[in-house]
Symmetry: C2
Subunit: 218 residues, 2 copies
């Protein structure tokens, strides 16, 4: 490794070079917006810990939240994290094991997260989480109490030290192997939303809102 700590620009440059990634902001935003599930890497006592977390994007930042006493949140304060969002889009079957591959979209964001401290800002971010997933829903909900706001920590990371990687292609085999009688191709994989399941305790006259009916993922 030639990269050095505390040199994000150099780190980013090396990552770009190695990973032959895609870096336009629309591509990166598109991946973040397609998949709320993120994996956040913390270093806790010199050991990496990778936790699944819901992320949401507002403008040029990603956010995630957790119980204020949570392990990851504590570890994230004042230290670097890596937040990765990936979608598996397909398995690629080649004529040799070596050329089997996967299609995917992935974004890695590096940085030192900041805690959203101001209570009004926190409330705005809670609404942002809801409305990013379900446009307009936050206005319909029972608002957060002060205790709920205190119990929850919101972290933010600028989408600046970032890289994306995408593979979207069929198998690429050694030329000689195309003569072999082997089925090659791609099995597409998708993340899909199923039919909404209403809570049994919904009031009888409550209708399915558009933000649930139109929900999309992947």
């Amino acid at each position: 490794m030639t990269q050095t700590q505390n040199a994000p620009t150099e780190r980013t440059r090396l990552r770009r070079k190695r990973e032959r990634g895609h870096f336009d902001r629309d591509t990166i935003n598109g991946i973040l917006d397609a998949m709320p599930l993120a994996h956040v890497g913390y270093v806790i006592n010199e050991t990496p810990v990778v936790m699944p977390t819901l992320q949401w994007r507002e403008g040029g930042h990603v956010y995630w939240h957790a119980s204020a006493g949570g392990r990851g949140i504590k570890a994230a304060e004042g230290t670097d994290v890596c937040l990765t969002v990936s979608l598996l889009d397909g398995l690629v079957l080649a004529r040799s094991g070596f050329h089997h591959s996967a299609n995917y979209r992935s974004v890695m964001i590096f940085g030192r997260p900041e805690r959203v401290s101001d209570p009004e800002q926190k409330r705005a971010r809670f609404d942002g989480l809801i409305d990013t997933l379900f446009p307009g829903r936050s206005a319909d909900l029972r608002p957060p109490t002060n205790v709920e706001v205190r119990q929850t920590t919101v972290l933010s990371l600028p989408i600046s030290e970032v890289s994306a990687k995408i593979r979207d292609a069929g198998p690429v085999d050694d030329e000689a192997d195309y003569a072999l009688p082997i089925w090659a191709g791609t099995i597409p994989i998708r993340t899909v939303a199923g039919a909404p399941i209403a809570d049994e305790r919904n009031l009888p006259d409550v209708e399915l809102p558009a933000h649930v009916r139109d929900f999309d993922i992947g």
Copy 2:
């Protein structure tokens, strides 16, 4: 944090306690087998790096592989990693923002990966990768060359320091909030395989194999 490095048993105990997880081996294996996409956390120059990677399980170990010169593989040698496999199974909409949640299955495996060095063992693991995803396929393929075996590093991790977390339930609201006229419920999310796409250069008499037709994920 009261946990200490180099005390995996203590670490595991604390994790279990905090995470109220599920630890029977069948549950853990079921999650690993349902989703080949893993996120592996390395520490590179004191910074966490979370890389998407395909994992496969054979018996009591998980395996992953990468180009022998790859950044993650280099970082993994002789240091702890965390390999996390997660499936997002649903988004849970409650009557307050605070009680919104996600359904998911997740496994975290901690440990110091070992490199599979013996060439015959490596070949067996390559077959294992293919056959875990597509039972019986490895026997049909052009076998790996010695160069391909050398170019690829296979890492293994015992499924021993491990925890699983599962949420699978509808919304749980504050009692008073059930009186509110708000739609609450669950949007199921699934990972699904689509219809296989044959490579254009398949020979005309090659048929779709059962291991592709019957492929399942999620």
